[in-house]
């Protein structure tokens, strides 16, 4: 068996040093909690926020006035809030301004324009603005420095393979030390665990470049670890059956739609949407926010390509947009423009819709940030019932850290080395390394992608049904057995990727189980055998959890 290189004891272990994980670490450490962050890459640049972001949705009384409800309604009604719990969204809104002020104080520029709070992007004409424009290019470096200054231990290149638990509460984590190619295990036993591993990319065959798996909208290193590990540990997850799809430049998926100051145009030059006739930095074209499938729908009608046209915007707005691309971490796109001679004043860029990934599909948390598994907290894109994205990760990460700081002393530390789970997982991962020959991890990932795309595809162009989903489940389970029997890794990097594939397989299985239970059509979940939308489900959320070794899919009311 692969060796255990160290065993660590702490009050809180954070899985994933992204935005949510670092914010939880900082707020818990401020209250004297001992914190260890396990990060598979390096917190200075890891995760979806590693390059920067530029929109932070929030409620600022000095800008929005004293009525929080107006902004709350805007988020719930117009900004894909429909699958979230109102109670948690409200709590998020209340806390958001204090986090904006903290970030400004720590050195993330929340007022890049004239030293004022400016709201724009993803904005409907005549509606309240909820997206604060900021410059997040250095956000990960700033948060890392802040965490370190408070004594947080950050273990970079430590990929978490399993959340450890005894069936009643979270107890720690089993990690892989991937800072050297020779793999070894690291055990962490703790009073509380914070899950902040981000979204689940690489589930479906990439729509943009089917041959290239890492051309994804959000970080391809976020591979459903938290979703799968929390699920296996018995926590409840929600919204798995409702696909979400992003859009951006057609063959290059790392894009920030909200930063573009554009009008969407048909190839004959006419406008696609009815919303505006001139784009400015205040109000750009909202067509694809309202009509999420516009690119696919028009391709199927033969009316594509749809172009993003910035050629008619004012020079000042153009300069703003270029600056905002940088704040948002789109510097490789800027380099591309330079190298390939792309000038957005002269050329309109084709956009397309991508494969589904997880945004607002994931672990269920309470208003205090705790999951249904005691001692396990979660925040950010791994969470399903309140919006993640940058602000959701930052604010709820903070809320989790605060509550952990208040409560961690109530829980004791238990040794994890002797748990059956720990032993079984270490033996399993070691076996992948020790076998003489076998299949590379990519084959398992491609297999999963083709199964999910074919049997649990997302609309508008793909449909689901009882027969498709049942066959898909059978195929996926067979693939998992093949992977267990034949996958071979040769170093820590490959072991990390293989573990990702096993997590993604569990996520895929859960997607199909939930999709089979939702016997209606809603959004991109198109059930050909149930072509109607059931109004009785409007205020419900579907969940999945494991009880006594079996999956249970159910439905609950939204938390008001």
């Amino acid at each position: 068996m692969l060796p255990i290189s160290k065993t660590i004891e702490t009050d809180l272990v954070v899985i994933g040093g992204g935005i949510g994980g670092l914010m939880a670490a900082i707020s818990a450490a401020e209250q004297g909690t001992r914190v260890v962050v396990l990060e598979k890459a390096d917190t200075r640049r890891s995760g979806s926020g590693g390059g920067g972001c530029d929109h932070f949705f929030c409620y600022l009384p000095e800008v929005h006035g004293n009525d929080l409800d107006v902004i709350f309604q805007e988020l719930m009604e117009s900004q894909i809030g429909s699958c979230y719990d109102p109670l948690l969204t409200y709590q998020f809104m209340k806390m958001s301004s204090s986090i904006v002020r903290k970030w400004q104080e720590w050195g993330i520029n929340m007022k890049p324009y004239n030293n004022e709070f400016v709201f724009r992007g993803h904005a409907f004409p005549g509606r309240p603005r909820i997206w604060l424009k900021y410059d997040g290019h250095n956000q990960k470096a700033v948060l890392t420095k802040k965490a370190r200054s408070l004594g947080v231990t950050i273990l970079n290149h430590h990929d978490v393979l399993e959340l450890l638990h005894d069936g009643t509460r979270a107890l720690g984590a089993l990690a892989l030390d991937n800072s050297r190619s020779e793999p070894s295990f690291v055990l962490v036993q703790s009073r509380c665990v914070m899950m902040a591993s981000g979204t689940a990319s690489r589930l479906y065959t990439p729509m943009s470049t089917p041959s290239t798996m890492f051309n994804t909208a959000n970080s391809p290193a976020n591979a459903g670890a938290g979703h799968a590990q929390a699920l296996r540990a018995g926590a409840r997850l929600v919204n798995f059956e409702l696909p979400y799809r992003h859009s951006g430049h057609k063959y290059w998926t790392r894009a920030g739609k909200g930063t573009w100051i554009v009008i969407f145009k048909y190839p004959d030059g006419s406008n696609v949407g009815p919303f505006i006739t001139k784009a400015t930095k205040e109000v750009s074209d909202i067509t694809s926010d309202v009509w999420n499938n516009v690119f696919t729908d028009m391709a199927r009608e033969g009316r594509a390509p749809i172009y993003m046209d910035c050629s008619q915007i004012d020079e000042e707005d153009f300069q703003c947009m270029m600056k905002d691309f940088e704040s948002e971490g789109l510097t490789s796109f800027l380099n591309y423009m330079g190298k390939r001679g792309l000038d957005l004043r002269k050329q309109a860029v084709e956009f397309g819709q991508f494969e589904p990934y997880f945004l607002g599909r994931g672990v269920e948390i309470g208003v205090d940030g705790q999951t249904t598994l005691p001692g396990l907290y979660a925040a950010g894109d791994v969470v399903g019932n309140v919006r993640g994205a940058i602000a959701g990760a930052a604010v709820y990460g903070w809320i989790c850290g605060e509550n952990i700081g208040k409560r961690y002393q109530d829980l004791e530390i238990k040794p994890v080395a002797d748990l059956d789970l720990t032993r079984e997982r270490m033996e399993f991962f070691s076996s992948l390394y020790e076998r003489k020959s076998g299949a590379p991890w990519q084959e398992g990932n491609w297999g999963l992608q083709q199964i999910l795309t074919d049997y649990a595809g997302a609309g508008p162009e793909r449909v689901r049904s009882e027969t498709l989903l049942s066959a898909g489940l059978k195929n996926l389970r067979e693939l998992r057995e093949l992977c267990k029997a034949e996958m071979k890794v040769s170093n820590s990097h490959e072991l990390m990727r293989a573990a990702e594939v096993f997590d993604l397989l569990d996520v895929g299985e859960a997607i199909m189980l939930c999709a089979r239970e939702r016997r209606e059509t809603r959004g991109l979940h198109i059930r050909k055998d149930y072509p109607f939308t059931n109004p009785l489900y409007n205020k419900k959320i579907f969940y999945i959890e494991r009880r006594n070794g079996e999956y249970v899919v159910g439905m609950r009311d939204k938390y008001k």
């Binding site: 190619s181 046209d309 002269k346």
Partner: protein, 82 residues
Amino acid sequence: MPPVIDKEKCIGCGLCVEICPCEVFDIDHAPKTVPVVLYPRECWHCNACVLDCPRKAVDLRFPLHYMITTTDAAALNHKAGD
């Protein structure tokens, strides 16, 4: 989008190896040597290695199929009669 390191400029500090979110470089980097790009197909074109390299020694190669597809904006608007 594989990174390409300029061997003349690189001082082998290892920062790119450390910070890459996808572990594209060989993790067993020996100090003062030029890092090895081991997993180019796992690059997310996040640009961190380009931005953070103290010697500006890293460049990203754009794969041919990561095209930004375009049309001439003046012609587009001419069609619409602007």
